[in-house]
């Protein structure tokens, strides 16, 4: 399964929390990402999130959307490693892909 953020969510991603404004990382995680992950887990499939085409991604958006999956205890790290893949085809977006992966690596689940 492939999901293109710029085409299917917003070409202009916002900040961290819903209360901060539209198209937040929290909104993307809660209203899109979690559901898609559950679907691919059930189907034993992989979810490819394509970052290309957006105007840009703040670290707050990426950390809340992706780091938040682990930090909030929504999904285990090994589940994400198996079922989630971030993709960037244009070199401009590679830095965002690397950052998002780093935020997931740094995230610690709740104690």
């Amino acid at each position: 399964m492939t999901y293109k953020i710029a085409e299917q969510f917003s070409r202009t991603p916002g900040g961290r929390f819903k209360r901060h404004g539209p198209y937040s990382g929290e909104q993307f995680r809660d209203e899109v990402l979690c559901d898609l992950l559950r679907q691919v887990m059930e189907a034993d499939d992989t979810l490819a999130i394509v970052l290309d085409g957006a105007a840009g991604y703040g670290s707050s958006f990426l950390e809340e959307a992706f780091g938040g999956l682990i930090r909030l205890g929504l999904f285990d790290r090994d589940v994400l490693q198996k079922h989630l893949e971030l993709q960037a085809f244009d070199p401009l977006y590679e830095t965002y892909r690397l950052s998002a992966n780093r935020y997931m690596e740094d995230a610690q689940p709740p104690q």
Partner: protein
Amino acid sequence: MRGPRNTPWIGTYTDIATIRTITPAAALVLAAEFDRAHRRKRLGRRGVINAEDWDPGVARTLIDVGFLEHLRADLPEYQRLEPQAPGVRMLPMLTGDQSEPEEVERLGQGLQELMDSFQGSAISHAIYTGLIEAMDNCASHAYPEDHSFRYPTEEGRWWMSGSVANGRQLEVIFFDQGATIPVTLPRSGMSEIAHDWLRRMNPLGIEAADDGQRIQAAMTAGRSAHQVQGRGYGLAQMRELVDLAGSGSLRILSRRGRYIYDKDAGERVDTLDQSIGGTLVHWRFRL
């Protein structure tokens, strides 16, 4: 209030005529201050009594940034003038109080009108990312509820603008009148905690002595006002954007601190004599 013979009295007066030159960043800060007062006190447009004495270049820059919206004057004689510096055009100020992607897009469209090659460039990505992150930082950190502000503020309020010089040098400026990075960033490590203790003992002397270093410390990924996991990447990302764009610099002024990162020259940190009254984030890029 009126004086004898019903002549109007002037309550406060800002003498723009004393300004001989003004940068886009300074123009934004000045316009933001008038905008804040206008919003907070619901002031009407201010009268102008000596526009003929204004430096034409300064007037042109202030007109471009939108300063006229707060004045009871159209100043037509200045609107026909060329900008202060040849080839420099400044965009009208935008303001908001949230993370507002649409406003960042508006600024980008304005820059595209001044610089053909802007949209789709690495610089346009850097600017979008930097501004949306600056807005989010403002919403998250800049106006803490438990901070005592010297002047009435509006929670979350930011101002931004941009300018293009000769079609090749681009500046983007973001400003808030919040509590500032040196105030909101918690101290860590023995040296910083010791400094904080000294500050409490001698507030006048030590209060802002290391504001520049405080901004630099905030650049460390993971350092955040909230000290919560997953926070503190924003300022470091703003600096990385200069590298992403391939050229240019980042300047951050916060309270009295000044932090500069230049792609070619590296970092520079110092503490100034005066506070800027908030936090200014200023990118310069060269195409």
